[in-house]
């Protein structure tokens, strides 16, 4: 790559080379960069021997001011917006009459020194129309701030300074704003992650705390039944307590599992489909009590490169769902097929159809289909299945009609030879 030997040229080259890592650029690096710039500036000035001694002195002072600005910018507190700090620094270091900076991302203007009325419109128009023509009569210098060639703001200076210095200052402002926005975005992500961790920890603790009273209620109600001596009405009420305790337990378990799944990162390994299905069926026995289960495999050694826990949760949800809505005595068919580079898992049951308008939305969190075939649930499970498939680069969908029944599908990348999906 050929480098432009001007200061803005060097800065732009540095931006182009380093992309977005400015946010984490260490302070020492900034000082080093300042040194490089200072040397480059000196070389540049020395190369222009046509200047008078005074002019050379003035240029040298400006270059030193640029270096000072670079040094001070490297120590800015980027927890705060950099605009006001930079406006004040430029004003004091270069001794210009006034400085105004527009941050296009935040749509905010920062100024230092005395400005005329209508400043806001003027600086916005620089940003919007990318006006970079200077006005020597008014002593105005206009610059558009750019990051990777995209305008992110504008700078307006009033006072005497060279074009070269103005370019350098504008480049430095662009870099500083880019650093600030990258850091702010990183902090937002970090905060969101912390909030998510807190949420899942609370859910986890709650779900665990529920198990104790649930165990006591279940043991007490089933104990009453075992001890006998209950009238039919009493037996009926005790059965209701047991049934609802089971439901609450199921919901709590789901909540616990969902919270854990969302907290964990993907732990991938080759997962053999056949045993996975068998484990899921074994775990879902209660929901399949009066149903037959048929497992159809394209190959016995069908394998997916994925997270066993997530895949188990996804398939469990499909099987639970089939068990919940299948007609009593019917067959639930679990199938694993191969389609080019994908493994297609499906769970089919005969039962009430899912209305066409609900078929996409049932995978959304908290959404529950029409209550005509009411079954207990939270509306969370299928969203977990969708989340699990997407985490593997796959997708889920459902087909459903009264005659042919309902089939939930998950398409996942197959394991190719060599162990990669």
């Amino acid at each position: 790559m050929a480098f432009d030997r001007t200061l803005p040229g060097l800065l732009s080259s540095a931006i182009a080379l380093q992309g977005g890592w400015w946010a984490s650029f260490p302070v020492r690096g900034w000082i080093l960069l300042a040194l490089v710039l200072w040397i480059a500036a000196t070389l540049y000035l020395n190369a222009h021997t046509g200047f008078s001694r005074n002019q050379r002195k003035s240029k040298r002072t400006e270059a030193e001011n640029v270096c000072e600005l670079v040094r001070r910018a490297a120590h800015l507190d980027l927890q705060q917006k950099p605009g006001p700090q930079m406006a004040s620094l430029i004003h004091s270091i270069f001794g210009v009459e006034a400085v105004a900076i527009f941050d296009g991302d935040l749509d905010e203007i920062y100024q230092s020194g005395k400005w005329f009325a209508g400043l806001e419109d003027t600086i916005r128009s620089i940003f919007i129309f990318e006006t970079v023509r200077d006005d020597p009569e008014m002593g105005l210098i206009r610059r558009v701030l750019r990051v990777r060639n995209l305008p992110i703001g504008a700078m307006l200076l009033r006072g005497e300074t060279s074009e070269l210095t103005a370019n350098n200052v504008a480049s430095l402002l662009s870099i500083t704003f880019d650093r600030y926005h990258a850091l702010a975005s990183e902090m937002r992500m970090e905060n969101a992650k912390k909030a998510e961790e807190l949420r899942t920890t609370v859910l986890d603790s709650l779900a665990h705390a529920y198990k104790t009273p649930l165990t006591a209620i279940r043991a007490a109600s089933s104990g009453l039944t075992e001890m006998g001596h209950l009238s039919p009405a009493q037996s009926s009420l005790v059965a209701l307590i047991s049934e609802q305790t089971e439901l609450l337990n199921h919901l709590t378990t789901r909540l616990l599992r969902t919270a854990r799944l969302e907290r964990q990162s993907l732990h991938t390994e080759p997962v053999a489909i056949a045993p996975l299905i068998e484990d899921v069926v074994a775990g879902a026995r209660e929901h399949l009590a009066d149903l037959s289960v048929k497992i159809v495999l394209a190959r016995d050694d069908l394998t997916i490169f994925g997270d066993r826990g997530l895949l188990d949760a996804m398939l469990t949800q499909f099987v639970d769902n089939a068990g919940k809505y299948a007609r009593s005595g019917s067959t639930v068919t679990i199938q694993a097929a191969e389609q080019s580079a994908e493994v297609l898992l499906s769970v089919h049951n005969l039962g009430p159809a899912i209305p066409a308008e609900d078929r996409e939305r049932i995978f959304d969190r908290y959404f529950r289909s029409t209550p005509q075939h009411h079954a207990p649930g939270t509306g969370i499970g299928l969203s977990v299945a969708k989340h699990a498939a997407q985490a593997h680069g796959g997708r889920v969908w459902v087909t459903s009609d009264e005659r042919r029944g309902t089939t939930f599908f998950a398409s996942l990348p197959a394991l190719r030879q060599g162990g990669q999906a």
Binding site: T215, A216, G223, L224, A272, V280, V281, A282
Partner: protein
Amino acid sequence: MSNKAIRVLLVDDEPAIRRALRTPLMELGFQVGEASRGEEALQLVRMETFDAVLLDMNMPGIGGMQTLIRLRIFAPRLPILMLTVQDEEHDKVQALDNGADDYITKPFSIRECLARVRSAVRRAQAPERPEDAPIRIGEIEILPTRRIVRKAGHPIRLTPKEYDILYCLMRHAGRAVTSGKLLTSVWGADYRQEVDYLRTFVRQLRKKIEKDPANPCYLLTDACVGYRFAEEVGFLGAADTHHPDDHYLPHS
């Protein structure tokens, strides 16, 4: 088996759970001792005689797992059933590997709890059975001296490894055998982690012994823990005297 013969030690730090279990158990003729911590349970077992221990996994103090390990040192044959919650599969496996007889997942019904306790006590009280004694459960019969397996009287052809798996599970019928234990017992300690390997063999085995391999009634999966051979009927030998309903198949 008479309930009166069974003395259960109930170890759980939650008074509500102890109360909910104690009342029906006593009503149904069990004798119940109680402890709210592992340390207390260790003392009680040293001082009194119990037929079974229901031991909560998560307790303050030394906790359920450590209590189990210490109990096993001086009470190697005492049936210990761990009370766990779902999604603690790792703890279940560890407890079984540390010598727990079984685990019950909270919340559970009294019926399930009683069945598990009775089954564990029955196994513990049965005289030591010779390793080569034939075993019959339902239609499946295994004759260790001749490495023969029969289903409804007809011989089944098994590979040596399939036979070893079946024998290990049938010898411990009614008990959950962890995948790690099965792998170690059949293939050796180096294969302890090869769970998919085991699953493949179990699938083959199911095809040979089950009527409907997708809905097994003999070789059951304890999800994320291991396998369990159903204890539909008892072992041949002295155990039968406790189970008049068991079907005795004469040694052929």
